[in-house]
Amino acid sequence: MRELLPFAPGVFAWGLVTGVAMAKSGLTVAQSLGMTFLAYAGSAQLAALPLMAAFAPLWLVTLTAVIVNLRFVVYAMVLRRHLAQLSLNTRLWLGYLTGDVMFVRYSALLEQEPDYPQRVAYFAGGATCNWIIWQVASVIGILAAGAIPAQWGLGLAGTLALIALVVPLCRDRAALAGVLVSGAIAVLAHGLPLRLGLLLGIVVGCAVAIAIQRRLASGGDAR
């Protein structure tokens, strides 16, 4: 929990902004509350809202949410071996609870201490806290949508929290290169629909990072 606390303002601000966005998009309070508690999705919720406002076909709304969430498939690939011994039920709950912040903190812990004894409790506890902070903020956002001016730019706080997450991950040249490539591709491919540029950035960024890491490790012919 102490691990997550510094990120609380960022998670809170994001939840708040998502709540406001739902309320302002014309959903009723009950619908907004239902969406935040069921989906707990952040970016997928935001992506679905304009489609729902336009009465887009349901399959399109669902497909959009799948694609916006594809990064979680990558996360789950990283997590799966560490959670494999758990029961089906537990894994389902942890899957529901996985958020960006918690995932990164958890994988950083596993890098340092792969056999950390309370790792499942660590993940479950942190992810639950993240869920609570997010939901409280979202509910406040839904109920107080009219009182929170968009000009404050509160959503930025969430992004700044991610910066604090990513800086310590750039600890070697391979990781730094992956980060730069992924960021550049995400921006250049921003025109692609459904945040596919983000996924492309992750794939190419990882490929570049591992190529550099192999080259540095083999030590020889790199100039």
């Binding site: 009465f55 709304v61 730019g153 992956g178 992924s182 983000l198």
Partner: protein, 110 residues
């Protein structure tokens, strides 16, 4: 279909989609085998995912890519990164970055 029903079905769709994306691979668990090089490349996935989210959020404006000084968002991000690198404080990075953002925006009269 009434709008009420439509909205709830759409919410269920988003829920299902999010759940499938997050949990399917977890459920398959050990049975999914990946080539070793992919396994080790996945180590870089968290950093790359964050970088993509951050970069597109800070640099993209409704008018397109904006790397000029009149876009306060990426400058605020830069400030947050610098604060974090110097003090290792997440709270400092978030609040410092927000202050920079508000000051710059007031400066440019946004």
């Amino acid at each position: 279909m009434s709008q009420e029903v439509y909205v709830w079905l759409a919410i269920l769709g988003v829920t299902l989609a999010t759940f499938l994306a997050r949990s399917t691979v977890l459920l398959v668990g050990e049975r999914l085998r990946l080539p070793p090089i992919v396994e080790s490349a996945l180590r870089y996935a968290p950093a790359c995912a964050l970088a993509g989210i951050i970069a597109s959020d800070l640099l993209m404006t409704p008018a397109g890519l904006d790397l000029t000084l009149s876009n306060p968002r990426w400058l605020a991000g830069l400030a947050a990164a610098a604060i974090f690198a110097a003090f290792r404080s997440t709270i400092g990075a978030i609040s410092g970055g927000m202050v920079v953002f508000w000051l710059l925006r007031a400066w440019f009269g946004g």
